[in-house]
Amino acid sequence: MDDIIKGKAFVLGNDIDTDQIIPAHHLVYRTDDEEERKNYGRYALSGVPEAASGLPHGHIPFVKDGWQSEYTIIIGGKNFGCGSSREHAPLALNIAGLKAVVAESYARIFFRNSVNGGYLVPFETPARLVEEIKTGDEVEIDVTASTLTNHTQGKTYALNALGDVEAILRAGDVFAYAKAAGMM
């Protein structure tokens, strides 16, 4: 995990479930095959209804062509990542090049998967940023200070501290953490 995470924001609403993040019929690709796994990036967020994809206006694909997205940080609402336990969800976002999600709250399995696999940094925000930030805004997260700055609009917001999971994210993933702690 870097101390500073910056790039373009992609804005989504509440209850973005794992079927929207990566629709179930795409769950068949191998994750340990360099070429095949790119499909997860290619189809990341392809299940989001078009009108809700890239708020406030919608109709913006997360991945335009190929398997990489131009967006680095997702701004979400409540209950981000609800639904199935599929780790393909944070993995697909990771393969597409996403670094962090900033949401009001998470479904716990998505949160856990993001942390344990070190796929992305799941920040919680006390404020509802979905109505503040626009898709395409240039934003920057300062991990140590727990803040998010919107450079396009010149505003800074406080994020909740990462707390217990910061140690795992700093180590890289749960394996690196467990090795450092002498557990494996």
Partner: protein, 432 residues
Amino acid sequence: MGMTITEKILARHAGRDRVEPGENIWVNVDTLMTHDVCGPGTIAVFKSHFGAAAKVWDADKIVIIPDHYIFTKDKHANRNIDILRDFVKEQGIQNFYEPGTPRYKGVCHVALAEEGYNRPGLVLFGTDSHTCTSGAFGMFSTGIGNTDAGFIMGTGKTWVKVPATMRFVFDGELPPYLMAKDMILHVIGEIGVDGATYRTMEFAGDGVFALNMEERMTLCNMAIEAGGKNGVIEPDATTEAFVKARSDKPYEIVRNDADAKYYAEYVFKTKDIQPTVAKPHSPDKRATVREVADVKVNRAYIGSCTGGKITDFIAAAKVLDGQSVAVKTFIVPATTEVAQGLKEQKVNGKSLQDIFVAAGCEVGPPSCAACLGGPEDTFGRLQADEVCISTTNRNFPARMGSKDSQVFLASPYTVAASALKGRITDPRDFVA
């Protein structure tokens, strides 16, 4: 201060006298379950971190139940089964329920119960969000991702944040037209899809203890639809009778302390609950069946870990016996044992299978089938703008296939009654 069932089970598995909600603890795992969708990914994680030649921590504690994409020509899906087959051979894992053999079972959460893996006091992790189903047996069970599972595969351990317990008490037994599905849809409507995030949902009261194990599984199954980490029900004689018939392995009954502390307690009068649906596209969009009784449907689906057990099919058969369905109606037994039950169990002297066929339903082979859409050739999959009433657990956009479809979730009684009329129909018209 006393502890809840969940706190006690987790404390014992962490080798501690007590734990507090919110603490992160490392626990020893009794059982790790995976299936065809997440198994290959879990194996890949395991091998990349523990080495290509590594052995799993305990071959007898790993259970692999392929169930999602079984009856399909999709080449990637079939390749996944091959990966599992090679892995169990290499590791000496006996608990493998291979498709295409007599050991094939079907939907993992129902198979776990049937095969005696669910026993009071155990800690079970599974790479499927509905792993919370097993909590019906007074054990701790929850869903995890592939990285977590790969870690457990190598170490037999994982970390958990101890959840605080929300208690849902049902006073009084169920009227004959109500099922566990109505109760849980009522609860989810009450607290919302994130109402129990990070928490345990415990179900109690004589309305719950009057239910058989399958119905209790339906309650715990949908804890995840309210964001819950696990569902749990205190074991009783019904639990023990079921477990003893399926397993001779030891178990430990764990109960709430009298002074256990709950995060919240909700008390419902069971008889006041109405037949309930969740409207598209979220399990918490609650309505009573009567409120949506004019909505036309053109598809009915009875199946899944939630609504594809023998109790569910007996309920449906009571409604469908001697009648004809007005819309395409798919019957998908969760497991091979349930499929066998369709032939053996009788309502009004006729087998369930005969009742369904005579009513014009299509009966498919046991698996998850269209519960989660799946490859295009999946049995019962929604391919266009169908409006489906279903006994499954999720109605997110595109969950059962096409993005243009709509899904109403309901009990087997309500789904069967609606199938007969072609519109959402109150089961009280059929079940006294």
